[in-house]
Amino acid sequence: MIKSKTKILQLTVTLTACAFLFVPIILSVLAGVTANYFQGISSGFTLKWVFRVWELYADSIFLSMRLAFSCLIMTLIIGLPAAYGLARNPGWLSRLLEEFISLPLAVPGLALALALLQLYGSMKGFRTSWTFILVGHVLYTMPFMVRSILAVLASIDLKTLEEGAATLGASPWQRFRDIVVPNAMPGILAGALTVVTLSIGEFNLTWMLHTPYLKTLPVGLADSYASMRLEVASAYTLVFFVLIVPLLMAMQWASARAQRISQ
């Protein structure tokens, strides 16, 4: 009897928590497909608002995708060798560098954006290009990539593995390609997952850096909340979910798989 009572309590708490998280989402999504939100569901369902969002904000969606993938490539190109260098040369200097890379985590995005504007604001071509936002995103997401790769590399005896490959005739580049990268894969995938998700969802830094012609997904969302009908804004949320949830799931699956392989 007591046992079943605790069970009921557990279930109630869990369901309440779920409701707390899901009800706003469901309401928002419902609002996005309701013909007229102020009349309620009785006004009927429609996809009109979703198409409207696509019409108005397709550019934002593509810009965000482009930003996220460019950001991923940049963080990989810079972050993988950086993490490798830090892992191979442990010491106080490496620890200092690691902290330094992690600084953007502690500094508010607004301050980071302000610093970028102060430095590059006068370079007109760069200021109005999407690569300006990319710089901000790379700065902001780099620590996640470096740290997640570093954590994996620190858990294996990289030096001895590389020495083993070297005695078998592998050049430094071959060692990096055949030993370092495959063994760092779980970290690379976890880092990639974080970088892409953060880049797509990043608002406060992007909001400072964007121009009226360069609105990312979250900036467009803020714009639609401010200036459009509530139904359009809600439909926008729906589009956002449709885009980001499969991406999240795919990357979760990939990193879980990589972890299984590495064990």
Binding site: I156, D157, T160, L161, E163, G164, A165, A166, T167, L168, G169, A170, S171, Q174, D178, I179, P182, N183, M185, I261, S262, Q263
Partner: protein, 342 residues
């Protein structure tokens, strides 16, 4: 391949001299062991030979007629078995063994045949598709060996290849390794701190201490004719007989002992198996400890030397603790080494 190394030393940036100027030659097909306590420089020497450490200026390393001193490790064509095996966790057993062949740019079918050959030699066929993490310690050791020899290296280097295994497995793998190495007919150098291992596997043993090779020779030579107290103690645990030499007689606390030659100026050593409990013995002592070891007893006797004198006793019934015993040591079993050396 004949391996030659002269004037090779290693000083670390902080001034630590890990290896003093060393000379070592290994004949074609010979298996040499570097034996010594930890910190004696044996692993440093092995790593210098592999090319994983840079020796001091003036060092010279020759593989046959090639000077490889400044050649990077990947171009030396050595095979190495690491203490931790360093198997690649991202590859299967087969891929691990084939990696060196892949680096030599052999064709796929050729790699397949060579890998299969080596798998068979090392009796690893059953495990070829496994991940290395799914292997036991002994299997990993064999994969590491197979991987090192698959590219047919000029020289095989082994760094404490058995120390990561538990004691019972170590003994059986030790003999297996000795047989395999001779089957491969390869020039090999291996590092160990275990004298049994060195004697069982090597044709020649180089004993190292404090960064230099103190003596090198066949296991029998080292055992019977050590050139220093260190070698006598490290190889076969010789005990020093602390007494007074007058002519060819050594006077100990427990009695006198005839020496094989002139004793003054020499220290006298003896091994436990040469200390016999014998009623006609010239030495008198008292049994202090008895350890039963299955095939024999180890008996500690006091009253003959300042420390306990250990005797190996192979009989059925050992004397009791506290019992007085007579001890005999044959003159030819005594080892005389000049006093004043380390």
């Amino acid at each position: 391949m004949t391996f030659r190394l002269t004037n090779t030393a290693k000083t670390y940036p902080d001034g630590t001299r890990a290896l003093l100027s060393t000379k070592l030659t290994v004949k074609n097909g010979e298996i040499v062991s570097l034996l010594g306590p930890s910190g004696c420089g044996k692993t440093t020497l092995l790593r210098i030979i592999a090319g994983l450490e840079t020796p001091d200026l003036g060092s010279d390393i020759w593989f046959d007629e090639d000077n490889v001193t400044s050649l990077p490790v990947e171009r030396r064509n050595v095979g190495m078995v690491f203490q931790s095996y360093a198997l690649f966790p991202n590859m299967s057993v087969r891929a691990n063994i084939g990696y060196g062949l892949k680096m030599q740019k052999l064709s796929k079918p050729e790699i397949e045949t060579r890998v299969s050959e080596v798998l068979e030699m090392c009796q690893l066929q059953k495990f070829s598709a496994r991940a290395v993490n799914a292997l036991s310690g002994g299997q990993r050791q064999r994969v590491a060996l197979a991987r090192a020899i698959a590219p047919r290296p000029r020289l095989l280097l082994l760094d404490e290849p058995l120390s990561a295994l538990d004691a019972s497995l170590r003994e059986s793998l030790r003999d297996e390794l000795a047989v395999l190495l001779r089957e491969f007919n390869i020039t090999a150098i291996f590092v160990t701190h275990d004298q049994d291992e060195a004697m069982a596997i090597a044709d020649r043993v180089a004993v190292m201490s404090n960064g230099r090779i103190v003596q090198s020779g066949t296991p029998e030579e080292l055992y019977r004719h050590p050139n220093s107290a260190f070698v006598a103690g490290f190889v076969g645990n010789a005990m020093r007989l602390d007494g007074k030499c007058t002519g060819s007689v050594l006077t100990l606390e427990g009695g006198g002992l005839r020496l094989p030659g002139e004793g003054s100026g020499n220290n006298v050593f003896v091994r436990a198996e040469d200390v016999r409990i014998d009623d006609n013995g010239s030495l008198c002592g008292q049994v202090e400890t008895i350890t039963f070891l299955g095939t024999h007893y180890r008996i500690g006797i006091k009253g003959i030397t300042p420390n306990l004198l250990t005797s190996i006793f192979a009989g059925q019934s050992a004397p009791k603790v506290g019992q007085s015993v007579k001890v005999a040591i044959k003159p030819e079993a005594l080892i005389l080494l000049p006093a004043g050396e380390i």
